[in-house]
């Protein structure tokens, strides 16, 4: 082998030492534990009578042998006889017989020696020479770092020659979805079932890897993502494919057999959690310990790749068996990306629980083996649950019931139903739809990436700057991705729970990785407001209304952008449907007559008020000018501060319509004075807190406070709900009102007369001003219910005046709503 190794003296010697004699000469064969040289050291010994205490120290000189820690031939000495050495340093060069670079189960695979033998002559154990495990299907075969480098260079050379890259493919929910619900098997055998067509292509295999009786010998149903076969075939000409899954070894191999029966695509490059060595995360370093420059990952989860995000192409999770999720995900932390807020009906919720436990265990430092065992059991029980409860059957039954009801309602068979389900009894809807197109886009991206990589490689090569270095695919991927949403400034609303750091959230990181800028608040620069259509956050929506150029889109838009890697047309995803479908009509309706506008205003404040926030927002949108209107654009430009609502221009019902007769100059002055005083800021916060609490306490069904939207009725109903909610809340409210009044009085001491119009005006203005200021200053990203507190006080006054400040009321409602949603959201997140 003849590999020269420098051997150090080691720090266990009692320095300083004197070399007395070299026992071996260069060229001599040395064996482990052979004495190579003799050295001496001096030390002090306590001698004398310890009982009487008559002791003194005497210098002693001890001679000792220094033994060889390894086998081989002595090459050269770095020390001389008679030399005094003060500290650890190189001592001798030995040409080793074997450097034990590959080891299998504690045996050197090159020389066959047992590496686990501990030896006093060597400071490190021989097993540490080969610490890297880089083979797919074995964990007990380890190699040294130099050997790993060598074999990776070979791999790199081979890939470059065939102009390929490595692609690590995740299985569950990326290219397939697995489920063990026996319902699928029954559906497959029953041609009359509405889902028969969908499950026709489901592959099955039986696995026997569960310790429990129920899971033992259970059938796995594997649905391949549409177009998978062609995708893999074409992709495999550009990429060398590896499977990396969190399933067991048997599972991984069976699935690989399903999607690649001839073993042409994956060969033996399959790694499962049994070989991964980590239950919670995947790592490219497990397979490519030296360089990941030529490796791309496709996975539906990015959180399991903590160290390899640059190489990851995130795929939209494939959800064919609705509500099943990933049957192998029980060890992983809970899915963080909310983009696909697929409702987890049954299996998933259960399966996700252990992850929390894991986190807990990490926090408490609990024994990991124990936790792992617990988790295994949990997974078993989750699987058992799936088999026993049959979530898919429940789902279909539910669907059938709905269909029946729908049929009863319409009186005849629904046309759309028959077109959707092709099986004989056309009245039944199927729950399993196979309409996924992700792989088409994925193929496009991977092809693009491959092209970009080799373009960059050829360029480097032609410049002859390429040595050992090849371009890093991670950088190229980042560049490609960063072009996608470049120039976009995106704010989120109702997507993430409160108090989350949006920049570190999964979705935030994704947005940033696609080149868009993430904004915590809605401001002029924002181009897109992404809302969670099921839980919109009202404050930002309201804020976005002030900027007509902001496109308010559903989360699906973002998901589609991430899938297609282009900034897709927003139109189908616009949150305000009137905008999308009915732009011209809405414009006409708005421009045609003032009456019409008044009517709209009437609708806005009338008793037929909308019940859901969605409807409500749609209603609000009617007031919004349609996009692309030149005039409005100009307005937007003029209105740089965003203080003037656009509604005014349209001559519609506006919160400040009643103020048109006022002297604006003086009002502005007063406002400025009021703002400058700044005394109410702290109170605002307190109010906010109180308001929050109150909203939590007297949580009323949303329609109670919404159904009546004229100001009188609304406040009346609010009072009703308050008085019902018990005395503490009422007291608090009173206190708050008092505080508010007192504060305003305090601010207006010098004004004197209570009922002067200017004062009234200022009160209204102050409320208005604070909410505007709130938006203008782009304060905290989630709405401040403090506004409500302020406005409540004002509202009472308004009532006395008999004026109709619908917008104030509306904002109050909106803020109330917002608080409710926030509470809901929080509750949900806590429970999850």
């Amino acid at each position: 082998m003849g590999k020269t190794k420098t051997i150090r003296l080691g720090n266990r010697l009692r320095y300083p030492i004197t070399i007395v004699r070299l026992l071996k000469n260069p060229g001599d064969t040395v064996k482990k534990q052979d004495a190579l040289m003799e050295y001496s050291f001096k030390w002090y010994k306590e001698v004398g009578d310890t009982i009487r205490g008559e002791t003194w120290e005497e210098e002693q000189t001890t001679y000792a042998d220094w033994s060889s820690p390894s086998d081989g031939t002595l090459n050269a000495w770095s020390i001389k006889e008679g030399q005094v050495i003060k500290q650890d340093g190189p001592c001798v060069l030995i040409d080793e017989d074997c450097s034990h670079e590959i080891q299998f189960q504690g045996l050197c695979a090159i020389c066959g020696k047992d590496m686990t033998e501990a030896n006093w002559a060597a400071e490190t154990r021989d097993t540490e020479r080969a610490p890297i495990s880089m083979v797919h299907d074995q964990t007990n075969l380890t190699v040294s770092s130099t050997h790993a480098q060598k074999s990776e260079r070979e791999l790199q050379k081979r890939l470059l020659e065939s102009r390929k890259l490595s692609l690590v493919v995740d299985l569950d929910q990326t290219v397939i979805q697995a489920c063990i619900d026996p319902t699928v098997g029954e559906w497959m055998k029953d041609p009359t079932n509405p889902n028969y067509d969908s499950v026709k292509n489901v592959k099955t295999f039986q696995l026997d890897d569960g310790p429990h009786a129920v899971v033992r010998k259970c059938w796995y149903y594997i649905k391949m993502r549409p177009g998978l076969e062609g995708f893999l075939k074409r992709i495999s000409t550009m990429y060398e494919l590896h499977v990396y899954t969190m399933g067991t070894r048997a599972y991984a191999q069976n699935v690989a057999r399903v999607i690649d029966p001839e073993k042409k695509l994956f060969g033996n490059r399959v790694i499962s959690r049994d070989e991964n060595g980590n239950m919670y995360s995947k790592s490219l370093q497990r397979l490519f310990p030296v360089s990941t420059n030529m490796v791309v990952i496709i996975d539906d989860r990015s959180d399991v790749w903590p160290h390899n995000r640059p190489n990851l192409v995130k795929v939209t999770p494939y959800e064919f068996f609705k509500g099943i999720g990933d049957i192998n995900a029980s060890f992983l932390p809970k899915r963080q990306d909310l983009l696909t807020s697929a409702p987890s009906t049954n299996g998933v919720k259960k399966a996700e629980k252990p992850a929390d436990k894991n986190a807990k265990a990490v926090a408490t430092g609990k024994d990991t083996d124990e936790v792992t065992k617990e988790q295994l059991e949990e997974q078993q029980s989750a699987l058992e649950k799936q088999i026993n409860e049959r979530p898919l059957q429940l789902l279909q039954e539910k669907q059938d019931k709905e269909d029946e009801e729908a049929e009863k309602a319409t009186g005849h068979s629904d046309d759309s139903a028959s077109s959707r389900s092709s099986s004989p009894p056309p009245q039944r809807h199927k729950v399993l739809l196979d309409d996924d197109r992700e792989l088409e886009f994925l193929e496009k991206h991977l092809t693009q990436l491959h092209k970009a990589y080799y373009a960059s490689y050829d360029q480097k090569k032609s410049k002859r700057t390429i040595g050992e270095d090849v371009p890093d695919v991670g950088n190229l991927l980042n560049n490609l991705k960063a072009k996608v949403l470049r120039g976009h400034q995106i704010a989120l609303s109702g997507v993430l729970p409160q108090n989350t750091d949006i920049y570190r959230s999964e979705i935030g990181q994704q947005i940033t990785s696609f080149g868009a800028r993430l904004r915590s608040t809605v401001s002029k620069e924002v181009t897109h407001l992404v809302v969670n259509t099921s839980q919109p956050g009202t404050a930002k929506l309201n804020a976005a209304r002030r900027y007509p150029h902001i496109k308010v889109v559903g989360l699906e838009w973002l998901a589609q952008c991430f899938t297609e890697w282009t900034s897709v047309d927003e139109t189908p995803y616009l949150y305000f449907k009137e905008d999308a479908n009915n732009v011209g009509a809405a414009r006409q309706a708005e421009e045609s007559s003032d009456d019409n506008d008044e009517d709209m205003g009437g609708i806005e404040t009338g008793n037929t008020a909308p019940r859901t926030p969605q409807q409500k927002m749609n209603k609000l949108q009617i007031q919004l000018p349609p996009r692309g209107d030149d005039q409005d654009d100009d307005d937007a430009d003029d209105d740089e501060d965003g203080l003037l609502p656009d509604e005014v221009e349209e001559g519609q019902m506006s919160p400040i319509d009643g103020l048109k007769t006022f002297n604006w100059g003086s009002a502005e002055d007063e406002l400025a004075e009021f703002l400058a005083s700044g005394s109410d800021d702290d109170d605002d916060d307190e109010d906010m807190d109180e308001e929050d609490e109150e909203d939590d306490e007297d949580f009323a069904p949303p329609d109670e406070s919404e159904s009546s939207s004229s100001s009188e009725e609304s406040s009346a109903s609010r009072k009703r709900s308050r008085s019902r909610s018990g005395s503490p809340a009422t007291r608090k409210r009173k206190l708050e009102d008092d505080v508010g009044d007192g504060e305003e009085d305090g601010n207006n001491d010098d004004e004197g007369e209570e009922n002067s119009p200017a004062k009234r005006m200022r009160r209204m203005k102050s409320a208005r001003g604070s909410s505007l200021r709130h938006q203008y200053e782009a304060a905290p990203d989630l709405p401040t219910p403090a506004v409500t507190g302020d406005e409540d006080g004002v509202e009472d006054k308004v009532e006395e005046e008999g004026q109709n400040f619908t917008d104030l009321d509306e904002e109050a409602l909106a803020a109330d709503l917002e608080a409710e949603f926030a509470a809901d959201l929080e509750a949900e997140f806590n429970s999850a």
């Binding site: 189960q105 045996l107 695979a109 090159i110 066959g112 074995q138 033996n268």
Partner: protein, 169 residues
């Protein structure tokens, strides 16, 4: 290398089996318990016959009967330097794994003749000299054992195929 080895074992019998065919039961249980196991030094391949079946002794507490049985078994003890026939099970860039009966043997690229190279592009990956020799999962190979290590109830070995009459067969 295979040996006929005389061994002894204590067999426990549950009280529900007490009856006239007890000796037969004891033998069956012995065969079931012992055959195919690894003691650490050798594998017990098959039990030839039993002798010296002792009288049963009831163990206080559990009620089980304990028999001491002497038996003669064919055992296989792999030795360093022994040449065995094995079947390749898996191939990777560092070498290949093979099984000689119950024993798992790894052969590294260093112990494979230099003309036989790893070919990762083949499906499945294989070691080949690009003419007659192809080592892939399922191939029979003749291996010389270079090193052995015993664990609790298992053994591992390192082998080589560079040598006369070794390798692809």
């Amino acid at each position: 290398m295979f040996f006929l080895h005389n061994l002894e074992r204590r067999v426990l019998l549950h009280p529900s089996y007490f009856g006239k065919n007890m000796t037969e039961l004891v033998t069956t249980k012995l065969v079931k318990d012992v055959e195919g196991t690894c003691t650490g030094d050798y594998y017990i391949i098959a039990i030839m016959d039993t002798f010296d079946l002792s009288e049963g002794r009831i163990l206080p507490g559990s009620g089980m009967a304990e028999f001491t049985v002497g038996y003669r078994a064919v055992v296989w003890r792999p030795f360093k330097g022994e040449v065995v026939d094995a079947i390749c099970t898996s191939v990777n860039q560092h070498g290949f794994f093979s099984n000689a009966g119950p024993l798992s043997i790894f052969v590294s690229t260093h112990s494979i003749p230099p003309d036989i190279q790893y070919d990762a592009n083949a499906t499945p990956p294989q070691f080949t000299n690009h003419s007659d020799i192809v080592i892939e999962p399922g191939t029979h190979v003749r291996i010389k054992i270079m090193g052995l290590r015993t664990g609790v109830g298992e053994m591992f070995a390192i082998g080589k195929i560079d040598g006369d009459y070794l390798g692809y067969s």
